[in-house]
Structures are given as structure tokens and as C-alpha cells.
Symmetry: C2
Subunit: 495 residues, 2 copies
């Protein structure tokens, strides 16, 4: 067989396995009956090992090498580059390890759900211990040039290391902490929803669906379901599924989860379908993915102009809600408050939440701190940085799903997403004109078209930082984000 | 590797592929967004070819041969026997054909859904033509000893041929047609639900759930969802999913669909889990599977004693329903009427519906009648046998999903299920005592325990007819069914 055809068949096979893994993962998180967990873990472990065996096929290595010496188009070349990276990594890792790690993650996920529910870290800690020790083993297999944690960071955002994140986070912290402190002293009072109001699930669902559709999410090529932790899975062409959760006392939590996940969904729905089931046809990185979700959630959704547009939809579902104007709703949606839960955090404290996780992960992998010290470490940092006492581990180190999935090194990509989103907003404004006016017009298609052209349709042809540079004209920088929050919050809080 | 271990690894791999195919099929029928259809078809075709390639691995053939000459336990021996059958068949069929056939089926399914909705046979006929011609090709690959249709019949119930079904159906028809005619002339009037009543989906769901739980279905190891055509998928250990549909004017349709599918589900939930992901650990045949669903739906659910037990649950949800007694509800649930739709047919006409499909399939494969003659043939038989004019193809030859899935030869297993169910009921009564009293007691666990012991826990160790004989003491026979319907309906219709 011609090398290119042979290569693409193998790549498509690998990405079909991955698509199925994604599908079964979605099902596990949303609708699987409890007693299905054991067999599900077994099947996922089996799929992982089947996929790994296919990936490390020596003949595949030969085909990759052959194509590296040929002229190829940009998609094929991106595929070859990514598969070289994946192949070189995979051949260092035994298949049994891959299966065992997948199984350990499925078991840890169940233990974590229980531990979080009961706020009992001891139920989760043996699993966390195992995942950390297996992750260390994985780092040993892969080999590390700098620090062990670098190996993990690179897995979630290629090319990013401790030596990149440390100064970035320092710069952010230096400007966010004083801003936070000024906001807290501003004396601006945030209006509260009357305690008696109930926002039924059904009405929230209707309202949020309308918003998601207005963003451009295609529900004939996707679904919205319920899960404990909202997420989006771009399963395969024509099938992108996101989830949310409902709090009948608070309609904003669901709304912004839906806007966030719809933002992810729009990226998935805008990928180059003709490149499906290959890395080049997929999203380039978690950071870029997060930029799409945060763009819609924060830059669009948390504005007075947005509220002007959606107010009639909101009022139709919730006529008993106080007769607030869009400026008031904007303020409510942008309440800044050092609090316990990351996913509900405002734009200022959000990145501080990320830094706490980054610092702890760095200590775990670069300083080998023992697992049982994590809760105390977490709580101490929350006290130092936010001035609040964590009352239980569910509101502390048990809140996030990531560690139970063995996803160490993932969190910092959320901050990258925030930075990229602000940079994209600024570039978009240069090209399309005043974004606030576009939002207020209620027709958001020009923004989606811009994102489709600059980001979504590119698949994974460019590296994350090159993609951001090609879309915005400048390499990634924290400056647009810092300017954005300083301007936005100074106005909101009369600083 | 030791032959047994090597064999079981290969078998487990094959059945894991199959479990995933089942899962994706369930998703496709229940919740997949419309635009996901194309990629879903591609993935399913890919999985089918991956599985086929694994199955025809010559080394697997060698291992099977090796084990055929060894002493093995009953489960292993059943696995070896079944894999020999599957291997010998599969090696005759090219992998490309398997993939193409799977793809054609996915496409036909979509076309059929549309055709049925619009009652337009022409939308479906090119797909049906293709599936029939590919099925003929498959028969050629497999080779046929007797008639071509025999090859298909054997696929769905091993060992059954035209020469078995022809006399069986003749005997049934000979006694069912006169019974039907007597019932139609009995003059018994069936009470009707008031036109104005609405049975909301939510309340039907609650009521049906309660019945399903009372039967013993474990909702922690399963789910109930909605699909156009109710079905049950025993995905894998701890995860059995069935579906139903709601008609807000008719609560009985959903109830009996739920009892039917829960009956399938109980079989799946009672299989020997330690033999999971192997044929021996699965249901033995479609006929036996159908016996489980029909047992609960008809022998238990369509009785006055059943209604005595569930009446309070029914009244609680539907207090506006007429104050009928359990005998009246029994009569409503057992209304006999020659009508268009198989899945809603009573126990007398049901098997006649099957025979019509059997006769048409026999004509398609043994007499090569052209596809465009199917609607007329169907409608003429409905006129001859039932005396009714089929007003459109949605109520005629487009009603069933089976042909769109390329499942020719499947229908007769439904009749086998009806016969087995009656034979099981009779044997159960000999051992447990009066079944009517057990039903009326509201505690149905002794019946489930009996089925678990005699049928479910056996997996696929025995051939269908041997399993029925081991459970009932006699080889399969239509006599218990005929006695059952003659006795039951003579009483109901005062014959």
C-alpha cells in the first residue's frame, strides 16, 4: 500500500478507537446505571490497550518515517508530526501499563464521586495515591528533560513548561491581587435573588437552549444533557454533546455553564469534517478549546449588552424575577468574591484558583509531597490567598474531577484559555468593529464566522501559539486579558 | 500461550467489540442527534470489519481445532462450539462485504424511518433492494444445503428451517383461524376509554416503572428510555437498557411494551456474569429471548389477577379512569381484533402477522419475487387472512424495523417465543402450583427465581430446544400454546 494511504488508515483507526472511548466516557458521566461501572471500566481499559497496541505497531513507525521525508500538504504534515510525537511517546510505555492506568482511573472516578458526596478525603486518597504513583511511573517511562511536572504540562499544552508558567502566573498574580483587593473595598453591593424564588429545571432548560441556539449551536448535530460536572464531548462529526446541571435557586449557574459548554461545542461543530478521525481534524489544544468556551461565557455572556438581548427570553420564563435592568444583571453576573468553588469563580479569582492547583501539582511531582498533606496544603493556600477557611474537603481539594481522571497538568490550560479569549476578543474588535454593539444587536453570527475562519476550521494544522498569532497578529500574551479585566471591572465597581 | 487462555482472550475481544456495537446501536436508536447518522454508520461499519478481521484470524481457527480435541467444562465447550460455527461462517465472507453490508444497513435504517413517516415505499425500496441483493450474496458465500431462506432462518434460531416452520405454522393456523372466527362472532363488547382522557407521559412512566420493578428489573443495573420502536439491549454486565414509547391516549400500549422489554431485560440481568463477553455467557437464542418477554407481557400481564395487583398503582396515577374492575381490564387487555400493526396485536392474530412476514420472506429468497411487488403482496395477504384493507404502507409493509436492518429470517423467532413461553408457564405451574394465585399475591419473585434457575443462569450452554426440554421436561411443541390460548380466550369470550 502507498505510505500515505497506509498511514491514514492507521491514523483513522486510532482516532475511531478514541472516538468510541469518548462516547463511552460521555455515557459513563451522564446516563450509565451505577452497576455498569465495573464492566465499563473493563471495556475502557481494554479499548485503551487495543489502541495502544495499534499505535506502537513497528510498521506504523516505519510509515511515519517514510512520510517525514516526503512532500505533504498541511493537514497530512500536521498528522505526521503529531503521530510522530504520539508514537515516540507510546513506544516507551508498556501496553499493560496503559490498561492498568485506565482501569485505575475508572475506579478512582467512582471513589472520588463517593468521597466528594460524603466530603471524606480518606475514601479517595488511596486511589489518588495510586494515580500519582502511576503517573510518576509514566514520567519515568517518558523520561524528563527538566522537571517531572514539565512532562505532564506538555501533555496538555504542547511546549508549555514550569519555566513558562511560573513567570506567567507571577505576572497575573501581581496585577490580579491588587485589583481584587480594590474591588473588595469598593463597597458596591450586589443585588440578591429573593430566597423564595424557584427557577424550575424545565424553564431553565428552555431559556438556556434559546441562548445556546442564538450562539449558533446546532442541536440537530448535538445534544444537551445533565451531569454532575458540565462538560462537552465532541464525539464525532455531526454529534457534539455537552452537559449542564440545574440549581433551582440560581438560574445563572446553569446559564453560564451552558454558554461555556456551547462555546466548546461550537469549536467542535466547526472543525474541518473532511479531516475527521485524525489529529489534524481535531481541536489543537485544551488551552485553545478553553478560549472558545470562556469567550462566549465571559466576553459575550457577562455583559450588559448580552442581558439586553436575552432579557425578554428570561422574563418570559421567569416573570416573578425582580424587574432588574441589564446593568444590574451584568453586575450580578460579574460579582467578584473570593470563594471556594473554581467553576463558579469570577474572572478575577478564577486564575488564582488555577494557580493554587498548579502550585500543589508542582509540589506533588517536583517535591514529592505525600498525598495526605494535600487537604491541609489546599486549605492553607485558600486562607493565605483568599482569606477564607475551607469548611470541608468537598468545597476544597475534592471539588474537581481532574485528579480522579489522572489529569495532572491539565488545570493551567484553563488560564491559557482565559488569556487567549481576551486576545481573540481584542483582535476580533479590530476587524469587526465594536463588539458591544454586535452583542447588543442580537445577531452574533459575525463573531462565530470570525472564530470559524480563524480558529475552528484550522483544526490542528498550527501549534497553539502559532494559531493564536495567526488569528490575532501577535504571539500569546497575558496583556490583553489584564487590560480587559482591569477595564471591565474598574467600570463595574467604580474603581 | 496455553490454548484455552489464547482462545478466551480472542473470544472476549470479539464480544467486547460486539458489546460496543450494541451500545452504539442503542444510542443510535434512542438519543443520537440526526446529523450524527453518517459518522455513526461509518464507525459501525468499521467496527464490524475490525471484528470480522479478528474473527477470521487463521491462528484462531487453529486454537479452536486444538480445543475441540481437549476435555473442557460445559461453558468452554459451548464457547468452542459456537466459535467454530461463527469462524467457519466468517471465513467464507470477505471483510469488505461485512463493512459494506453494515454501512448499507445504517443507510437503510435512516431511509426506512423517513419512508415510514411519509408512508412512501419508494423512499425505502432501493435500500431494501440493496439489502436483499447483498443478503443473497451472503447466502452464496455461506452456501446453502436446502433452500436459500433456510440459511437465514438458521442464523436467528440455529437448526430451524423452512421444513420445520412450514408444518409448525400450518398447525398453528389450522387451530388459530377457527378460534379467531369464533371470537369475532362472540358478540362480546370491549369497553372503550373515554376519548377525553389524557394519560400524561410522566404518570405512565411512573406506573410502568413500578410494574417493571415489581417484575424484578433492577434499575441500578439498567435504564428505561424512549425510542420509536421499543427494544431491549443487554449491553454488558450491570447495564441492561430497554425502551418504550408513550401514547397519551392509551396507557396500555406503553404498559405492555414495558412488561415485554422488562422480560427481555430480566433475562439479560440473570445471565451468568462470570461468563461475560463470551457466547456461553449470553442469551442462547432470539426465540428463547422472546419467550421471556412474552411470558411477562402476556401470561402474567394480560390476566385479571395481574390487574387486581396493579389496580391501586394505576388508580393513583389515573384517578379519572373509569372505575373498571380487574375482569374488565383483563378483557380490554385481551381484545382480539384483526388489525394492521403486529406489535399491538393480540395473542391470536400475532402469530398470523408473523406468518405473513414469513411467507413474504420465503417468496423473496426462495422465489426471487421483485421488491416492488412486496406492498401488493402484503396488502393482499392482509385482505385474505384478516379481511382488512391496508390503507397505506406505514400500516403495512413499512411498519417493522427488521428489513431495514437486513434482518431477514428473524420474524419466525417471535412465534417460537410465544410457544416456548406457554410451555414454560405450564411447566412452572407443575412445580410452583397455581400461577394465577402467585400473580394475585403480588409477590412474583418465585416465578423469576424459577426462570433464573431454568433459563437465565444457563447462558448458552444448551441449544434452544435442549434448554426448553431441560426446563420443561418435554421438547418444544406448539401444544401448550394452543391449549393456553384456547382455554384463556374461550373463557374470556364465553365460547
Amino acid at each position: 500500500m502507498e505510505a500515505k494511504a497506509e498511514f491514514m488508515t492507521q491514523v483513522n483507526d486510532l482516532y475511531k478507537f478514541q472516538a468510541i472511548q469518548g462516547h463511552l466516557g460521555w455515557d459513563q458521566e451522564t446516563i450509565m446505571p451505577a452497576k455498569g461501572a465495573e464492566a465499563r471500566g473493563e471495556i475502557l481499559a481494554w479499548l485503551a490497550s487495543q489502541r495502544h497496541e495499534k499505535l506502537i505497531d513497528p510498521n506504523f513507525g516505519k510509515v511515519i518515517a517514510e512520510l517525514e521525508n516526503q512532500e505533504t500538504d498541511e493537514f497530512l504534515s500536521a498528522n505526521v508530526k503529531e503521530m510522530r510525537r504520539k508514537y515516540d511517546e507510546a513506544v516507551k510505555i508498556p501496553t499493560e501499563f496503559v490498561a492498568e492506568f485506565t482501569k485505575a482511573r475508572s475506579e478512582a472516578l467512582i471513589a472520588w464521586q463517593q468521597a466528594r458526596k460524603e466530603s471524606d478525603f480518606s475514601l479517595f486518597s488511596p486511589h489518588l495515591e495510586k494515580l500519582i504513583s502511576m503517573t510518576r511511573e509514566k514520567i519515568d517511562y517518558l523520561g524528563c528533560e527538566d522537571t517531572p511536572y514539565d512532562v505532564l504540562l506538555d501533555e496538555y499544552e504542547v511546549g508549555m513548561k514550569v519555566s513558562d508558567y511560573d513567570p506567567l502566573f507571577a505576572e497575573l498574580k501581581e496585577r490580579l491581587v491588587p485589583l481584587l483587593s480594590k474591588i473588595m473595598q469598593s463597597g458596591v453591593e450586589i443585588p440578591r435573588l429573593p430566597e423564595s424564588l424557584v427557577f424550575t429545571e424545565k424553564k431553565q432548560e428552555k431559556f438556556c437552549n434559546e441562548v445556546s441556539k442564538a450562539m449558533g449551536f446546532d442541536f440537530e448535530a448535538g445534544r444537551m444533557d445533565i451531569s454532575t460536572h458540565p462538560f462537552c464531548a465532541g464525539l464525532w462529526p455531526g454529534d457534539t454533546r455537552f452537559t449542564t446541571r440545574f440549581d433551582e435557586k440560581d438560574p445563572f449557574s446553569c446559564l453560564y455553564a451552558v454558554m461555556h459548554e456551547s462555546g466548546h461545542g461550537l469549536y467542535e461543530q466547526g472543525l474541518p469534517f473532511e479531516q475527521s478521525f485524525s489529529p489534524a481534524g481535531g481541536a489543537i489544544s485544551l488551552g485553545v478549546h478553553e478560549s472558545q468556551s470562556r469567550f462566549w461565557e465571559n466576553q459575550i455572556g457577562r455583559t450588559a449588552s448580552f442581558w439586553k438581548v436575552v432579557m425578554p427570553w428570561f422574563r418570559r420564563e421567569f416573570p416573578d424575577c425582580p424587574d432588574w435592568d441589564s446593568e444590574t444583571l451584568d453586575l450580578i453576573a460579574n460579582e467578584v468574591k473570593p470563594d471556594f468553588i473554581r467553576v463558579e469563580a469570577d474572572e478575577i479569582t478564577y486564575n488564582l484558583h488555577i494557580m493554587i492547583r498548579y502550585e500543589i501539582e508542582k509540589k506533588i511531582f517536583n517535591e514529592n509531597i505525600p498525598v495526605d498533606q494535600i487537604p491541609t496544603l489546599w486549605n492553607n493556600m485558600m486562607k493565605d490567598w483568599f482569606g477564607i477557611e475551607v469548611p470541608n474537603d468537598s468545597l476544597g481539594c475534592l471539588q474537581d474531577i481532574h485528579w480522579s481522571m489522572g489529569a495532572f497538568g491539565y488545570f493551567p490550560t484553563y488560564t491559557l484559555g482565559n488569556l487567549y479569549a481576551a486576545q481573540l476578543l481584542s483582535a476580533m474588535e479590530n476587524e469587526l468593529g465594536n463588539i458591544d454593539e454586535i452583542i447588543a444587536s442580537g445577531d452574533w453570527s459575525s463573531m462565530l464566522t470570525w472564530l470559524r475562519e480563524k480558529i475552528h476550521s484550522k483544526g490542528s494544522v498550527l501549534e497553539p501559539s502559532d494559531l493564536i498569532e495567526s488569528a490575532t497578529g501577535s504571539p500569546p500574551s497575558p496583556e490583553p486579558f489584564l487590560e480587559y479585566v482591569e477595564k471591565k471591572y474598574s467600570k463595574l465597581y467604580n474603581l
